[in-house]
């Protein structure tokens, strides 16, 4: 291990390698509840070539490597469970290309959501990408890797569905291009070649290091609006969402339920975000969305909430800055959530589960979901706030998260970006042949087991 420090310094320069206690401390944890695991080194590469050299050296010396975006995953996936190198990718943040006509962006893996958003706003104002509600320093690569979702997910699916191509450094040091970029200078599609991108999506950094990626862009309309449909009966929500998404008018459809503020308690809110080029088009879309749920309005089981201007602005803000406020609910700077990918028909059961756990464990909660595609799936989240300064409160939140994960799996959902304990829940339920295939793929790509070890493994 001693020699690796000198090698890392030689590759990236002394200013971008640290084995100081301060970096080891900060990089040992993320803002969620998972316990700390210290790295031996934190390294910040500046190019694909540097990543390649680092992986070659780490592989030769069997040193674990954990790639890190902005460190905002919350479920502890970038904690180095077995020590080694945390590879902080944020120096690799160049926006390489915007292809306007084919509507894609090619970026380095450390590029943040905010940087791309600002770049498009300035240079390509009629284009946008699907930004998640993570804070703007979150990286595009990190979010694609975890099958994230965002403000165009109704129209475009998971963020991994919006991926056009990848450049990856394998654990053994080879640089691989996947998608049209494998044979062309264009990064416009993954099809029609064998789609190897799946080897790096959802694997929690256990199969390689993404260094570049291209993602789809979407029209950025000058006019935007949001409607909030409210009802009190969770059993109606799947049908409401089915009807709204069936119009294909929206860009983003989300639901949210929270006990605070008081006026929101007990109600189920469905936000429908849509945009248009003209006022007439916007009104036309609004009318179509409204018509889709007119039966519920007519029988007074639901209706659209009149939105004061500031509230509407908050709902239109991308990313939604107010979500960060949840971290201060317990005056303790902490929250973590279970995001569960599940069919929309499970909404009522999922909602009841959240209420039950919050009630039994006495945790501060917020719940909601984002619709993926045309009601093809939903990411249902259970967010629990905690006080970072209170170990008992952290334990309570951890307990709530574990209980939620377990019951989500029992219900038929799949925990998203699962913490190490939740991975065990998933593995326990998983088709054994799929898990065996994962193991084989992983040992083929990473024969020395250096990539984020401790994840997707049986304890």
């Amino acid at each position: 291990m001693g020699k690796i420090y000198e090698i890392l310094v030689e590759i990236v320069g002394p200013e971008f390698v640290s084995d100081f206690p301060e970096e080891k401390y900060i990089y040992s944890m993320d803002p969620g509840t998972m316990p700390a695991c210290e790295p031996d080194f934190v390294v910040m590469p500046g190019s694909t070539e540097e990543v390649q050299k680092i992986l070659q050296a780490a592989n030769a010396q069997r040193v674990p490597v954990v790639p890190l975006g902005a460190g905002l995953v919350l479920s502890g996936l970038s904690r180095p469970l077995k020590g080694g190198i945390v590879l902080d990718m944020k120096r690799m943040n160049r926006i390489v290309e915007i292809n306007k006509l084919s509507r894609y962006a090619l970026v380095e893996a450390g590029t943040s959501q905010g940087m791309l958003q600002a770049h498009l706003k300035k240079h390509f104002p009629d284009l946008k990408h699907s930004a998640p509600d993570a804070p703007p320093p979150a990286t595009i690569a990190g979010n694609v890797c975890i099958h994230g979702s965002g403000h165009m997910s109704h129209a475009g699916g998971f963020h991994s569905d919006m991926l056009n191509g990848l450049e990856v450094v394998l654990p053994t040091g080879e640089v691989v291009r996947i998608g049209s970029c494998a044979i062309s200078s264009y990064w416009n599609a993954r099809a029609p070649l064998p789609d190897l991108s799946g080897l790096f999506l959802g694997w929690a950094g256990t199969t390689g290091v993404i260094t570049k990626l291209a993602i789809k862009l979407y029209p950025n309309y000058p006019l935007n609006d949001v409607g909030v449909f409210v009802c009190e009966d969770a059993s109606l929500v799947p049908d409401i969402l089915y009807r709204i998404t069936g119009t294909q008018m929206a860009e983003d459809v989300t639901a949210w339920m929270t006990p605070k503020p008081d006026w929101a308690a007990g109600f189920l809110h469905c936000n429908v975000n849509y945009g248009a080029k003209t006022k007439n088009e916007l009104i036309w879309k609004r009318n179509l969305i409204r018509a889709a749920v007119e039966n519920y309005i007519d029988d007074k089981t639901g209706g659209f909430l009149p939105l004061p201007g500031p509230m509407k602005q908050r709902f239109l803000e991308v990313p939604a800055r107010q979500l960060a406020l949840f971290a201060d609910v317990r005056k303790g700077g902490g929250f973590e959530y279970v995001g569960a990918i599940m069919p929309v028909e499970l909404f009522p059961e999922a909602y009841a589960l959240g209420l039950d756990i919050a009630d039994k464990l006495g945790v501060s909660y917020s719940m909601g979901c984002r619709i993926i595609g045309l009601n093809h799936s939903m990411m249902f989240f259970y967010a629990y706030a905690f006080n970072r300064a209170d170990p008992e409160d952290i334990a309570r939140a951890q307990h709530a998260l574990e209980a939620t994960n377990k019951r989500v799996v029992d219900m038929g959902g799949v925990p998203w970006k699962a913490e190490a304990p939740a991975q065990q829940e998933i593995i326990g339920k998983m088709d054994p042949n799929m898990f065996e295939m994962m193991r084989r793929v992983r040992s083929m790509l990473d024969p020395n087991g250096i990539m984020n070890p401790g994840n997707w493994e049986v304890n």
Binding site: F20, G114, A118, P135, G333
Partner: protein, 388 residues
Amino acid sequence: MKYAEILHRCFRCGYCKLPGNYMDFNCPAYAAFRFETYSPGGRMWLLRAWLDHRLEPSRRFQEILYSCTACRNCVEQCALPKIKDELLLAFTAGKEKLVGDGKVPPAVRDCLTSLQKYGNPYGISRKKRVNWALDADVDMFSDHNYLFFPGDVGAFDSRGQEIARSVATLLTRLGISIGILGEREVSDGNEANAMGESELFRMLAEENIAHFNKLKVKRIIALSPHGFNTLKNEYPALGGTYQVFHYTQILSSKLGKLSFKDKLSKVRVTYHDPCYLGRHNWEYGAARKVLAAMPGVEIREMDRSMQDALCCGGGGGNIFTDIIGNGPESPARDRAVEALNSGAEILAVSCPTCAVMLADAVKSNNMDDRITVKEVSEIVNARLNGPK
């Protein structure tokens, strides 16, 4: 430690690292070093760990804290309204504890020692504080309308001295009655305060206040936004209450008295907002008003301007301690590139610290043939016929 109760409330969401438009990192220390430890959230968690005895105040720890330039971007951008106003105060409290424990980087120690011994961070004899004014037509303060306060950089740094002379000359040409304290002046103490040496700050401030009060000073024009900030906001608590102006505020109110040359070449100018005028005191208009009043001047805004301006990296004593350094990713060099990308030929500043930092950056970037750093009064003086 004061403000210890907010440290754990930071979620480390990272809004504090960015400007309002998210285009790039805007925390100068984080932009320069890139490790999470150097971000405002990282500092919050490190301070908490120190107080909980999970980390020692190592040299690295000290440098992380002292790399903060007190630019206030984190306060501007923090997503948590209940703690945001106290972020910078918490960092200063952390430095104060380091000072109390005798655990500061050598460069900080030397700077504070010079302030204590000489009344300035340069370690130069107090008698030389008046040297900048020897070639300028400025009197010692007696019954003048305004006390002109050049501050440390204006009094001792060669570039700062040029700026002090330029501003004093322009104020005099405008018929504004100014006088100076000369060698009686000591550091305004803003940097001592930002470096956590609150006792030294108090000592320096009280010395200045004693002179001000003895001379019956009512109004002060500060050359440096740093001095402006502390004279305006900190001195009243120590018994020194005056009308305090930054010189650009005075210039902007006297534009009607200025007569510019008829035949002037067109020039593209971008203005760099100093942190202590902008984010600390919400003054964004005065310098722009002066620049816009000059015929032939076209103002080009940088992508990060006003409350989103990137700090030059000189605040918090960094101009003296050089903890952030002048590497390729230093904020000053990044800012110089941003200024050039705006299409400007002149990077206008209204702070001697920014002037020094950004001129060095332009040189380090080998950009001196494409953009020049000029202070606002220098641009005015060069285009002036004379007072009407």
